[in-house]
């Protein structure tokens, strides 16, 4: 579905995407994970054929996005990061008007709009204007709109950013249903749980480059340990324990409020801790998540 080699996007002096390689297969759910400014959205815009690559090779659905832009876009569904629904039209018309952009006949557009509103659970809002809808409803409508041309490939740029937990779970559940139908999904996110829930395979981007690639499980196994022990000490700064705990677990990561101890066997590490006479005020053994991978790979410094 997507093939890229050495893909580059520059904005003047600034290089947003710095030579990435990608392969996305049909039916796959593929994720771009990375902090803000990592180049995820720029990559998505190139895949969506709205931004011209500055260098490298890119093929979408086997076609060249620069030459065959309209033909490729006819088979893509795009759900942008910022909703761009039409505020002058009501919910149902937003879908039918958009369908007309694809040259879908009116009667067919109405049939699909009815079906899609059902799918995203907005049927009773069909004649509501867009503005009074909640963020979650707008996002669901955007997803429905992206599906109106029955696309082969759906691009979702941060599909659940800014939504409350209920709305996120509903969006995830709908996206999962799409995936089950065999639709290829490509999404960007900076939520680890989202990537773990939805993606078969993902890449971690940082500074315009791909820093890791694989299934969520594979990434965790490669870049983190199976378990993580979170330790809190009542008295001193966690960093002062780094030397004292040396040799326990595979890696130590002191945070301002707690110490993360990466270990294949968390309970064994805790026993060792007690044997050496340490008494942390709280101990939590948990499974390693993508978040750990993400923070290991892209660092803890805040990027804006």
């Amino acid at each position: 579905m997507i093939y890229a080699r050495g893909l580059v996007k520059r904005f003047g002096e600034f290089t947003a995407v710095d030579g990435i390689d990608l392969d996305v297969a049909p039916g796959e759910a593929f994720g771009f994970l990375g902090p803000n400014g990592a180049g995820k959205s720029s990559t998505m815009r190139m895949i969506g054929c709205v931004s011209t690559p500055s260098g490298g090779e890119l093929r979408i659905l086997g076609k060249d996005p620069v030459r065959d832009g309209p033909a490729i876009r006819a088979r893509l569904g795009v759900c942008p990061q910022t909703d761009n629904l039409d505020p002058d039209l009501h919910v149902f018309e937003n879908l039918t008007t958009y369908a007309r952009y694809f040259g879908i006949p009116r009667a067919e557009a109405r049939r699909r709009a009815t079906e899609l509103l059902e799918f995203v659970q907005l049927t009773e809002k069909a004649t509501s204007m867009v503005e009074p809808l909640s963020g979650g409803m707008k996002r669901r409508l955007s997803i429905a709109r992206a599906m109106v041309n029955e696309p082969d490939l759906v691009l979702l740029d941060e599909p659940t950013t800014g939504l409350d937990p209920q709305a996120r779970h509903l969006v995830w559940e709908r996206l999962f249903r799409l995936k089950q139908r065999g639709v290829t999904l490509v999404l960007t996110t900076h939520y680890m749980d989202e990537a773990e829930q939805l993606c078969d395979r993902l890449v971690v981007m940082d500074g315009g480059k791909i820093v890791a690639e694989g299934s969520p499980r594979h990434l965790i196994d490669t870049y983190s340990t199976r378990e993580v022990v979170e330790l809190r000490f009542g008295d001193e700064a966690p960093s002062s324990y780094v030397d004292k705990l040396a040799g326990i677990g595979e890696r130590l990561d002191p945070l301002p409020d707690r110490l993360l101890l990466y270990s294949a066997d968390g309970d064994a590490a805790v026993s060792e801790l007690h044997r050496r006479g340490f008494t942390p005020s709280s101990v939590l053994v948990r499974r390693s998540t993508l978040e750990d991978v993400f923070l290991i790979l892209t660092g803890r410094t805040l990027v804006d």
Partner: protein, 240 residues
């Protein structure tokens, strides 16, 4: 390719009520004192001009805030960009919408003027076309301008220093020969003056000041340049 053009329930009403008020107040009120211009009563003289300036103003205002808004606030153009719709379709689609607005307003206005007895030539049937061309020549480049700016405060400058002077000094209310010779070229450059003269000639049956083909040609040239500029500006805005 059959594409849906965005047609909103626009207030066609306001775009001809204002000209009608103008006709009534200035044409009949002021006209009573002014007497005749070029052998015509003042009402008949200004009606073609007001018709053209109505088209000009509709074209201008419909290509300012709605265009900038579709890029910046509602991002409708970005939404359309993700579909097979090409940039030139977006440019032409919006111009087509303005054409509908102007055509509807011109036709209603003509009917009202006929009632006031301001129609004197069968060529009047050409005036909606003239208004359409005038609207395109204005709206294309104003849309292009709107696509290049980030901030709507430019529009108040545009209204103050382009729209109002153009409306006042393009031969709508008095012949441009009354203007001092130094500022006359400004009127000649204004698409509105060409539209006004064509419209006046069509409604009153007289000859245009310059050969009519020059007036029409100038408006076509402006339209073509405007559309090219709009295509460039839309592309630039949507490309990255």
């Amino acid at each position: 390719m059959v594409l849906y053009r965005r047609l909103w329930q626009a207030s066609v009403f306001s775009s001809f009520v204002l000209p009608v008020l103008f006709v009534v107040s200035i044409g009949i009120g002021v006209g009573g004192y002014v007497g005749e211009i070029d052998g015509w009563d003042y009402l008949s003289y200004i009606v073609p001009g007001i018709l053209a300036s109505g088209a000009f103003q509709t074209a201008l205002s419909e290509s300012t805030f709605p265009v900038l808004g579709a890029f910046k606030w509602t991002r409708s153009y970005h939404a359309a960009r993700a579909t097979p719709v090409r940039i030139i379709d977006m440019v032409l689609g919006w111009q087509l919408y303005i054409q509908f607005r102007v055509a509807a307003a011109s036709i209603v206005f003509l009917l009202v003027s006929a009632v006031f007895g301001a129609v004197h030539s069968p060529w009047v049937v050409l005036t909606p076309l003239i208004c359409g061309l005038l609207a395109l020549s204005t709206a294309a480049s104003v849309s292009a301008f709107s696509a290049t700016i980030e901030n709507d405060s430019y529009f108040s400058l545009l209204f103050r220093f382009v729209m109002i002077p153009a409306t006042l000094f393009s031969g709508v209310f008095f012949p441009v020969e009354q203007l001092p010779a130094v500022v006359r070229p400004l009127a000649y450059a204004s698409p509105l003056w060409h539209g006004v003269e064509l419209s006046r000639s069509a409604m009153l049956g007289g000859a245009t000041p310059w050969p009519w083909a020059v007036h029409v040609g100038y408006l076509i040239l402006l339209s073509a340049l405007g559309l090219w500029w709009a295509w460039r500006a839309y592309s630039k805005r949507l490309r990255d």
